[in-house]
């Protein structure tokens, strides 16, 4: 019996007909994809590594498979609230406990690519966002706020991490912007192309690392190392981002993609 | 004071057998040993049950020693021995067998040396030859015995003023002797010019200073005079023997062999002197060792061998017939059988049945053995005086 009237059926039809487009927002997980670099005295984020167990050889004549290893925060990844000290006591704060309904959520794309190109240390402020809303409309609740910086185009160059003697230089929000997005716009999380949700110099902000601190302190999520945010419409895209169900995990590498209307 | 050894009264040495040598053989040492026994059997009518003593030498019978060999060849001896001394093994087998027969431990001892030479045998024999060689000689260019004797020759020539011409004279004479021996591997005459111009192998050792490894077997019988007579075998007697091992380790390089220690005992027991020898069968892995034996066995004084060689003719018809079958230098070196062929050739000459030309009126022969370059020199030496019936 056909269920042609259902939302799922409509969506299926749109997918089949091509009316609903699908775009990959994920960087390829490879050994040389950069990971965040912390000061040397701290523990470091393990890069992605792969060791072949067998490849149609004496270790397994008919099959090919690899052991892989990485940090939870390697490559394109999803940060759960427990990642930050501010979210440590929240319920359902680890990736295995995050409600599955949050893995599919709409997105609003805030384009700061011009500002970021002009200033790698561009700081997203409440004032900028209010101005943006005046021009584009209000940010709806329970949306991913996706910061389009075109930073993903720097992957494979030193300019991606952009690590100078005084630390990393990449755009990100200040505390005012984060308070605004979390408390006044009820965002589901912040989705970025840079290696972290915070600016490269975020540790010098007041409070330090405002995106991590405020997002996770309020049960919101982070999505980092995304690509192709420039392909999405400002409104109307749906992001699918389902982390691995790692018991007690602070984050997880994952495949992220978005659906949006072709027109 | 060395006690004078007892005489070899009543001991008969007879029936020299040579299985003709070949350069390379696909057969085993066991096959060659069997071939020698078969030849002995044909000559004497003896079968396995008639042999109650067996003395064996080989480099290529591994993993079998004399034990493996007697079971392999169906012998049931009441006395046996294994002689691992290569070039000294013939003289040593002779002395041991003689005493066994004399004491009644055995009635008839077959002394036998057999070695095969497969294509890679020589390299393999070298590679596993001795611990000192492995540790301290072969890793130095792996020239094998050529390199070891090159160092001995270099020093000998330098110390005693001996030229290559002297060694050449010995080699040329031995080749002349070989031409009458149908089994000799070298069949063409050799001139001193050819000797002098042969290519260097390990200076100052040149190609014609070196023996050619081959496969072959040698055997003879040691028994009582009565038994030899009953078998109708012509027999020689042993006048005297000596052996000595690892003599003069203090010499930085070998310039003399163990014979020097016992040469007086040898001639005293033999009751004769070097001048009384009708032929000499010296171990000849390299001509320098032949020269050394001439000095050390009393034919001339140390350092005077060049003049001695100059004064003598070493061909069969010469003043001092040397290695009348051609020796190893011209007949080939069949491994441990190379340490037996001097005994069998001496026997043949004094028994009047040589492979090639007969030394006129040969009655007494001196046989000398020299063996086992364990490291930087030959360790084992021996000598025996054989006398045929008048």
């Amino acid at each position: 019996m056909s269920n042609s009237g259902s939302l799922c059926a409509e969506m299926a039809a749109a997918l089949v007909s091509g009316k609903l487009k699908c775009v990959d927002l994920t960087n390829t997980l490879s050994p040389d994809f950069p990971v965040i670099v912390l000061p040397a005295e701290f523990g470091q984020c393990a890069p992605f590594r792969v060791e072949t167990v067998s490849r149609y050889d004496d270790n397994g004549p008919a099959w090919y498979w690899n052991n892989i290893s990485m940090n939870e925060h390697t490559g394109t990844h999803f940060d759960a609230p427990a990642h930050w000290v501010t979210g440590r006591d929240l319920p359902s704060n680890t990736v295995d406990a995050v409600p599955v309904s949050d893995f599919v959520a709409p997105a609003v794309v805030v384009d700061i690519s011009a500002e970021a190109a002009a200033d790698a240390d561009f700081v997203l402020t409440r004032a900028f966002l209010e101005d943006w809303e005046t021009r584009n409309g209000k940010i709806p609740p329970r949306h991913w706020v996706a910061l389009r910086t075109d930073w993903y185009k720097r992957v494979g160059t030193p300019d991606y991490l952009n690590l100078k003697k005084d630390g990393a230089h990449s755009p990100g929000p200040d505390a005012g912007a984060m308070e605004f997005l979390v408390h006044e716009r009820d965002c589901i999380g912040l989705a970025v192309e840079t290696v972290g949700t915070d600016a490269g110099q975020g540790s010098h902000f007041n409070p330090p690392m405002p995106a991590h601190s405020i997002l996770h302190g309020n049960g919101r999520y982070g999505l980092q190392c995304l690509t192709n945010l420039d392909k999405l419409p400002t409104f109307g895209a749906m992001i699918v981002a389902a982390p691995l169900k790692i018991q007690g995990g602070s984050a997880s590498p994952l495949r992220v993609f978005a659906l949006y209307d072709a027109e | 004071m060395t006690r004078r050894p007892a005489a070899y009264d009543g001991v008969a040495v007879c029936c020299p057998v040579t299985v003709p040598y070949v350069r390379y053989s696909p057969e085993t040492a066991h096959w060659w040993a069997g071939a020698a026994l078969s030849a002995l059997g044909e000559r004497t009518g003896l079968g396995p049950a008639d042999i109650d003593g067996f003395c064996f030498a080989s480099f290529s019978s591994g993993p079998d020693s004399v034990v493996g060999m007697i079971q392999h060849l169906g012998l049931c001896p009441r006395w046996m021995d294994h002689i691992p001394t290569g070039g000294a093994s013939g003289v040593m087998a002779l002395r041991r067998a003689a005493r066994a027969v004399q004491s009644g431990d055995a009635d008839l001892v077959v002394c036998l040396a057999a070695d095969t030479n497969q294509v890679d045998s020589f390299r393999q024999t070298l590679a596993g030859f001795s611990r000192f060689s492995q540790d301290a000689m072969y890793p130095y260019g792996f020239g094998g015995p050529n390199a070891t004797f090159a160092l001995i020759t270099d020093n000998f020539m330098r110390t005693y003023g001996v030229g290559r011409e002297s060694f050449g004279k010995l080699c040329v004479a031995q080749r002349a002797n070989a031409l009458s021996n149908p089994h000799a591997l070298m069949k063409r005459p050799l001139s001193l010019d050819q000797y002098m111009s042969s290519r260097a192998i390990s200076d100052p050792v040149h190609l014609l200073d070196c023996v050619m490894p081959c496969a072959g077997a040698e055997a003879f019988i040691v028994t009582t005079e009565e038994k030899a007579a009953s078998l109708g075998l012509a027999a020689a007697s042993i006048k005297a023997t000596i052996e000595r091992h690892n003599a003069f380790p203090e010499d930085p390089i070998q310039v003399r062999g163990g014979w020097v220690r016992d040469v007086d005992t040898l001639w005293e027991a033999a009751g004769c002197s070097p001048e009384d020898m009708d032929t000499i069968q010296f171990y000849d892995d390299y001509p320098v060792i032949v020269a050394m034996q001439m000095e050390d066995l009393g034919f001339c004084r140390k350092g005077e061998v060049a003049g001695f060689i100059d004064r003598h003719d070493f061909t069969i018809s010469g003043s001092l017939p040397l290695n009348t079958n051609g020796g190893q230098l011209s007949a080939g070196q069949a491994g441990a059988a190379g340490g037996f062929q001097n005994v069998t050739e001496a026997l043949r000459q004094v028994l009047g049945c040589p492979l090639g030309d007969q030394v006129p009126d040969a009655r007494r022969a001196l046989v000398s053995g020299f063996g086992l370059v364990n490291y930087d020199r030959g360790v084992c030496t021996g000598a025996a005086v054989l006398e045929g019936a008048t």
Binding site: R49 | Q134, A136, P139, G141, G143, I201, V205, D376
Partner: protein
């Protein structure tokens, strides 16, 4: 004098490479004990505990009084008594190196011995003996001129026993560090043809970039020892063109066993120090072994710079010392494997290096330039193991006397 070594010509692509044979390897246990000391650059013979006579070749009992033998350093002088030039051999290694000159020497220590000869020594000469290791890792006596002669190191027979850097192409695995750069500089000064300097993260700046860029004959190459693919890709690119590998990579972090350390830190240490070496060996070993007798710039050596605490453990750096021990053990295994194909495997063992990770460790600390000099010495003398710096030398001396006491001392 020796003819100065010319840089190798490019290979004729139609000529097959000479296989990496090694000299005969079957040796006694005593000869192996001699090899260990040869690898440390010592000149030793066995001396009798009873009659004090020195003996050679290696024995298991004294030939003079049957007393017990022990290894002891000996005077290195000798006189050359006799010589020969070997022009024919059945051995595959020496066949490729004929003619080969050897001689008999009278050692001032007592015994005579057969030795390899330098081209500049002649009969009757006083010579200086060295105990070297041959391509198969076995001990060999080598007679050198008493005094340095021109281009002495370039003697073709001597060069068979060394891994001299001259004209060779050398991979130094971590060029991001001062140590790697100092090693590169010392190798170039010793005549290396090219130094390939590994860079684990070409996207991340590091100190010394300007020096590297402005120095001729250094190529920076991508190499991350924690990434199997990176190592095998570089081996694919450079495998047939690297003659020597010097593994300068290392990861040092303080920490105890029960406290003060993290497993994740130890994992990284293992990944770089132990598994990194394994990846290098697996990716580059076969290509090195195939070229161990390939002319002037034949493949020659694998040198690993490691911590002396590999031998004992180390309070305060327990995890690091464990990774160093694993590394040392892997090097021992690699040495055995590479000996059969003619590649020397050496360890340069250091005390604490004067770097950021040893700030809390009191002096003396070993300077990276000193370690670099040791690497050059190991290659030029064909050694297997050297200790660099006061701390390493002291620990090695104590360890030799009483290994278990030294382990206790280093972990209290």
């Amino acid at each position: 004098m020796s003819n100065p070594l010319s840089p190798p010509k490019r290979k004729d692509p139609l000529t097959p490479s000479r296989l990496g044979h090694v000299p005969p390897r079957l040796r006694s246990r005593a000869a192996k004990a001699m090899a260990v000391r040869a690898g440390q650059g010592r000149f030793v013979l066995q001396v009798c505990e009873g009659c004090s006579e020195a003996t050679y070749p290696p024995r298991d009992r004294c030939p003079h009084c049957w007393g017990e033998l022990r290894w002891a350093d000996q005077p290195q002088t000798a006189v050359l008594l006799a010589e020969t030039v070997v022009r024919a051999t059945t051995d595959n290694f020496f066949r490729e190196h004929l003619p080969w000159r050897i001689g008999t020497v009278q050692l001032d220590a007592g015994p005579t011995a057969v030795a390899h000869l330098h081209g500049d020594v002649a009969i009757g000469d006083q010579v200086r003996m060295r105990l070297v290791l041959d391509r198969g890792g076995n001990p060999a006596l080598f007679a050198l001129p008493l005094k340095e002669t021109p281009h002495m190191q370039d003697d073709p027979q001597l060069r068979v026993f060394t891994s001299a850097p001259k004209h060779r192409r050398i991979l130094v695995t971590d060029g991001r560090t001062r140590l790697g750069q100092d090693v590169a500089q010392a190798l170039l000064a010793a005549g290396a043809g090219t130094v390939f300097l590994g860079n684990s993260d070409p996207l991340l700046r590091h100190d010394g970039e300007e020096w590297i860029a402005s120095t001729p004959n250094i190529d920076m190459v991508p190499l991350d020892l924690t990434d199997s693919r990176s190592v095998s890709e570089l081996a694919g690119t450079l495998g047939g063109r690297v003659d020597i590998i010097v593994n300068t990579a290392g990861y040092v972090r303080p920490g105890g066993v029960s406290s003060g350390s993290r497993l994740a830190t130890l994992q990284t240490a293992m990944d770089i120090n132990a598994f990194g070496l394994l990846r290098l060996a697996q990716s580059f070993g076969p290509a090195l072994g195939a070229r161990s007798d390939d002319g002037v710039n034949s493949a020659a050596a694998f040198v690993d710079i490691n911590s002396i605490y590999a031998m004992t453990g180390n309070a305060g750096f327990a995890g690091f010392a464990a990774s160093a021990a694993a590394r040392l053990s892997l090097v021992a295994g690699l040495r055995g494997e590479m000996a059969s194909v003619g590649i020397r495997v050496a360890s340069v063992l250091c005390g604490p290096i004067d770097d950021a990770w040893h700030q809390a460790v009191p002096p003396p600390k070993v300077a990276t330039s000193r370690v670099a000099q040791a690497v050059v010495q190991v290659l030029q003398d064909g050694l297997e193991q050297v200790c660099v710096g006061d701390v390493a030398e002291d620990l090695a001396a104590r360890w030799q006397q009483d290994p278990f006491l030294t382990i206790r001392e280093e972990n209290l």
